[in-house]
């Protein structure tokens, strides 16, 4: 598996556009800044929804109104983040694919996506079973609160991991321990980093 990921990353690295993006000071920083600033739209909206479900913000406004009205701007923000995130990976494919933090981040992103899917299903269930009677309550039903707390936790960890990708503590170039080497996917006799 690690060998496959390495081969895929080195193949991406052969693309001239990948090199050009990595070496372009303005374009790379523009993409990176857009990725970070899109946080304000995507996570900004998501956190407002989660805080409402936990009864920590917007308690005067119906919970479903918050969840439904903020969904579109949140999805637009996440779309920008996904596109710019893929471009950032494309610019530095080998090092990123072998970053311990990037790998943890991907696992957390999958967990956050599954949690979001479950959260929306639970919200539909709560809507149909309680007939919307919970909508004006300060706190959402317990299952939705758990979903919101998990969402907040996942995204806090995702942002921390994203920030730590910039650090080279566990890079393959630094010859890490066998355990770290296996997790990060370092390949024996690899020539590209």
């Amino acid at each position: 598996m690690n060998q496959l990921i390495y081969e895929f990353a080195t193949w991406l690295d052969t693309h001239s556009w990948s090199t050009q993006l990595h070496e372009s000071f303005y374009m790379y920083n523009l993409v990176e800044s857009t990725h970070v600033l899109a946080l304000m739209v995507s996570l900004g909206m998501l956190f407002l929804i989660d805080l409402r479900m936990l009864g920590l913000a917007f308690v005067d406004i119906p919970a479903t109104a918050i969840a439904h009205r903020l969904l579109l701007p949140m999805l637009i923000g996440f779309s920008v983040m996904i596109v710019t995130g893929l471009l950032l990976f494309y610019a530095i494919p080998v090092r990123t694919s072998q970053s311990l933090w990037f790998r943890i981040k991907v696992v957390l992103l999958i967990a956050a996506a599954v949690n979001a899917w479950l959260f929306h299903r639970r919200m539909q269930d709560a809507d149909s079973s309680a007939g919307g009677s919970w909508d004006l309550a300060v706190k959402a039903p317990r299952r939705l609160q758990i979903g919101a707390a998990l969402s907040l936790s996942f995204w806090v960890l995702i942002v921390i991991c994203g920030r730590l990708i910039a650090y080279d503590w566990f890079d393959c170039r630094g010859e890490p321990s066998t355990f770290v080497s296996t997790i990060t996917g370092c390949v024996a006799d690899q020539t590209q980093f």
Binding site: S33, L37, V41, R163, L164
Partner: protein, 194 residues
């Protein structure tokens, strides 16, 4: 200084006097003198516990940076929803007062968290940021943002919002979005300067 403490004529005079003072400061030697006088403060910042931790433990510095980003995300969310409501593009069926008050509470908490984590980060790289122009642009943008929120936006929105001219509300929202985008963009710019 609350808007209720001063009549509108006095407020106008105070605003014009403040702008005049700022311009005088910007185009006189006072600005350079103040800049030079601040160097010992920044040198001291690097010796504080925040500065020592920030320089010694990269993981702590990176985690605080991430918390700063998360606080900015909440701040951005509160501003976008609040200004979106003023522009009548979101929550149009929810009273202005409810949206503005809820957003302002969230804004204040996230601003406090951003400032605390920002001070920690600045202590770790104090001398570096002292010599970065963009750091001062960010501080200027942040000051303008805070002054705008607490001395212009909030006092204005304390009035009966529904009876205010919609164009005034739109102008306030656009100005707010531009100011806070400048704060975020200059902050990001610090990351790849120097």
């Amino acid at each position: 200084m609350s808007s209720r403490m001063l009549p509108s004529y006095t407020r106008s005079v105070a605003v014009i006097a403040t702008i005049g003072l700022c311009l005088g400061f910007a185009f006189s030697n006072a600005r350079l003198d103040t800049y030079s006088a601040l160097l010992p403060l920044f040198e001291w910042m690097e010796t504080t516990p925040f500065g020592v931790i920030g320089k010694t433990w990269g993981a702590v510095f990176a985690t605080v940076q991430a918390v700063h980003l998360l606080a900015m995300a909440v701040l951005g969310g509160a501003i976008l929803v609040s200004d979106g409501r003023l522009l009548s593009v979101i929550f149009t069926d929810v009273p202005q007062r409810q949206v503005q008050d809820a957003c302002h509470r969230l804004f204040v908490w996230s601003l406090l968290l951003s400032i605390i984590t920002g001070v920690f980060m600045a202590c770790g790289v104090a001398i570096k940021v002292y010599y970065l122009n963009v750091f001062w642009y960010k501080m200027l943008a942040l000051t303008v943002g805070v002054v705008f929120v607490f001395f212009v936006r909030r006092p204005l929105l304390r009035h009966d919002i529904e009876n205010l001219n919609p164009w005034v509300l739109r102008m306030v929202a656009v100005a707010s979005l531009m100011i806070w985008f400048s704060v975020a963009a200059t902050g990001r710019w610090i990351g790849f300067s120097g």
